[in-house]
Amino acid sequence: MTQETIDQYVRSALALAGYALREPAAAEVARQFSRIHEIASSFVDEPLSADLESASVFRP
C-alpha cells in the first residue's frame, strides 16, 4: 500500500467517523495510521487456520 493510498483512506475514514480535525492533526493521524499499518502488515495477509478463529466473550 502506498503512502498516498493510506492518506486517502485516513482522510475518508476520518470524515466517515465524524471527525473534523485541523490539517496538522489530520496529517499526524495519517502518520500514526501508517505506523499501525506497517506493524499490522506482518500478519494481516497471512493465511491462518480456521481453528484459530476467536470470538469475544459473551455470557447472556
Binding site: 471527525y19 502518520r31 500514526q32 506493524i39
Partner: protein
C-alpha cells in the same frame, strides 16, 4: 519472608502499633516526598482516617484482624473510589460524576484491612509507557527524578519505590505494571488474563486489560495478590476459578523451579543493561537453557493493533467532540486506532491464539521463563526517542516492546527489580519478567522470592 506491608500488618495485629499511627506517618511521608515525585493525584485522608479507626476499633473489641490490617495503599486513578471522580489520567473525565462505589479490587483490599490513602498518577487512559501526563504533570522516578517513572501505572510504581506507601494497585494492558516496576525498581505482578476482576475500573482494551499489585518485596506482593483473588460475575472475562493462595504456598513449596531464558526477540530488542539483568537472574535461578518464542514479534504486533483499535473505538465519540481535551502525547494515536479495519483486529486475535499455543509447549519443560521487562533503564523525562538495535523508536510507544508479546497471550508475569550496575545508567534498576504458565502465578512469585533471597533482586530503600 517479609516486607514493609507484612511488617505493618504484624505490628497492627499484635497491638504494637495502631493503624492510626501508621496512617499518620504515611500521610506525613506523602506530604514530604510527593512534591518531588508527583505520584498522587488525590489523597483520600478523611476516608483513610475512617478505615484506620475502624481497624483500631476492631482490635480494641478483641476481634481477629484481617491479613493486611492497617496497611496503607493507593490505587492508579482508573480504579473507582466511592465519592471520587475516576480520572483515568484524563482531563476529559474531570467533570464526570463521582464513583458511586469502590472498584471490586478496592473492596477486596478494604475487606483485607488495608487503608486507602489516595489515587495515583498515570498516562491518560493508560495509553503510554512514561506517565508524562500533560494535565497532571509527569511522575518522576524516585531513583532519579530527572527520569521517567515508566507507565502507564507510573504513580503506582513510584509511590512504592519512593517509600510513600508499601502497596499499590495498577493496570497492565501492554506492560503498564511491568514497565514502571522495572524502571522504578519494585516488584509488580500482572496475573493471568482473567484472574482478577476489572469491575469498577476505567477500561482501555477489554481483551487485554489486566489489574495487579506493586510492592517492595515478593512476600508483600504475594500477600496483596492473595487479598485480591476471587471470582466476579460482573466481569465476563474473569475466570470462574477458585482462590489459590500464594503466600502460604511460597513457604511450603519445595519443588525446584525449572527456569530458562527467553532469547530470540527478547534478546534482539534488549539493550546491554537489560541483557545483564537477565544474566543475573538466570544465574540465581540456575537457568542454563535459552529458548525462543518464535511468534513473539507477531504477538507484539497483534497487541499493538488490538490496542489501537479497541482503545480508539472506546474513545471515538468523545474524540470527535472533545479532541482538544485529550492528551497531546496520545490522542492522534487513539484517533488513528479508531480507523483500523475490523479484519486487521480479527486477524490479530487469531495470532494471539497461535502464539499462545506455542508458549504452552515451552511450559512442558519449564516453569518460568526469564526476559527483560524493559529494553533500557529509565529515560530522561521529555525524551521522545530511544535508540534500540540500531533503530530510533518512539519512547512512549516502545518502552513496552518486551512486555507486549507476553500480555498479548495472557501469561502471568512477576517483574523483579535487578540492578545491573553497568554503563552510564549504573544508578538505575532494570526489572526482569518472570513468566509463568497460565494460572501459575505461584511459580512467578516463587522465582521472584528466590531472586530476592539470593540478593539478585531487591527493591532498595531510598
Amino acid at each position: 519472608m517479609n516486607g514493609p506491608a507484612l511488617e505493618i500488618a504484624h505490628l497492627v495485629r499484635s497491638g504494637q502499633r495502631s493503624a492510626m499511627a501508621v496512617l499518620q506517618a504515611t500521610l506525613a511521608r506523602v506530604r514530604e516526598r510527593d512534591p518531588r515525585y508527583n505520584c498522587f493525584t488525590a489523597v483520600t485522608e478523611a476516608r483513610a482516617r475512617q478505615e484506620a479507626a475502624a481497624i483500631d476499633a476492631r482490635r480494641a473489641r478483641g476481634e481477629a484482624l484481617p491479613p493486611l490490617a492497617g496497611v496503607p495503599y493507593a490505587v492508579k486513578n482508573l480504579f473507582d473510589i466511592a465519592d471520587e471522580v475516576t480520572l483515568a489520567g484524563g482531563r476529559v473525565n474531570a467533570a464526570n460524576p463521582p464513583a458511586r462505589r469502590d472498584a471490586r479490587l478496592v473492596e477486596r483490599m478494604r475487606d483485607a484491612g488495608a487503608v486507602l490513602v489516595g489515587a495515583l498518577n498515570m498516562d491518560e487512559h493508560a495509553y503510554g509507557f512514561t506517565t508524562e501526563n500533560s494535565h497532571y504533570g509527569a511522575c518522576r522516578n524516585p531513583r532519579d527524578p530527572s527520569r521517567i517513572a515508566g507507565g502507564s501505572s507510573g504513580g503506582s510504581a513510584a509511590a512504592v519505590a519512593g517509600g510513600l506507601v508499601p502497596l499499590t494497585l495498577g493496570s497492565d494492558t501492554n506492560g503498564s505494571i511491568r514497565v514502571p516496576a522495572s524502571l522504578c525498581g519494585v516488584f509488580g505482578l500482572k496475573p493471568t488474563y482473567g484472574r482478577l476482576p476489572r469491575t469498577g475500573s476505567f477500561p482501555f482494551v477489554g481483551s487485554l486489560d489486566h489489574l495487579g499489585p506493586f510492592a517492595a518485596s515478593a512476600a508483600d506482593l504475594a500477600a496483596a495478590y492473595d487479598a485480591l483473588q476471587g471470582q466476579d460475575p460482573d466481569d465476563v472475562a474473569c475466570a470462574q476459578r477458585p482462590i489459590e493462595p500464594v503466600l502460604s504456598a511460597l513457604a511450603d513449596e519445595a519443588r525446584p523451579l525449572r527456569a530458562a531464558v527467553l532469547g530470540g526477540y527478547f534478546t534482539e530488542w534488549a539493550g546491554p543493561q537489560a541483557r545483564r539483568a537477565v544474566d543475573i537472574a538466570a544465574r540465581a535461578l540456575g537457568a542454563d537453557a535459552c529458548v525462543e518464542l518464535h511468534g513473539a514479534a507477531q504477538a507484539r504486533s497483534a497487541a499493538f493493533v488490538i490496542t489501537a483499535a479497541e482503545g480508539g473505538a472506546l474513545h471515538r465519540r468523545r474524540l470527535v467532540t472533545h479532541y482538544d481535551y485529550y492528551e497531546p502525547h496520545s490522542r492522534d494515536r487513539l484517533v488513528a486506532g479508531s480507523l483500523v479495519p475490523a479484519a486487521w483486529t480479527q486477524q490479530a486475535q487469531r495470532i494471539r491464539h497461535r502464539v499462545y499455543r506455542e508458549a504452552l509447549a515451552l511450559f512442558e519443560d519449564y516453569d518460568v521463563l526469564i526476559a527483560p521487562a524493559t529494553p533500557v533503564p529509565a529515560t530522561p523525562i521529555g525524551a521522545d526517542w530511544l535508540e534500540l538495535a540500531g533503530r530510533q523508536l518512539p519512547t512512549r510507544a516502545s518502552m513496552g516492546i518486551l512486555t507486549q508479546p507476553v500480555s498479548c497471550i495472557g501469561l502471568p508475569v512477576c517483574t523483579a527489580p535487578v540492578w545491573p550496575r553497568a554503563g552510564q545508567d549504573d544508578h538505575l534498576p532494570l526489572g526482569v519478567q518472570l513468566i509463568g504458565a497460565p494460572w501459575r502465578e505461584t511459580d512467578c512469585l516463587r522465582a521472584a522470592l528466590v531472586l530476592e533471597q539470593a540478593g539478585a533482586a531487591q527493591a532498595l530503600p531510598l
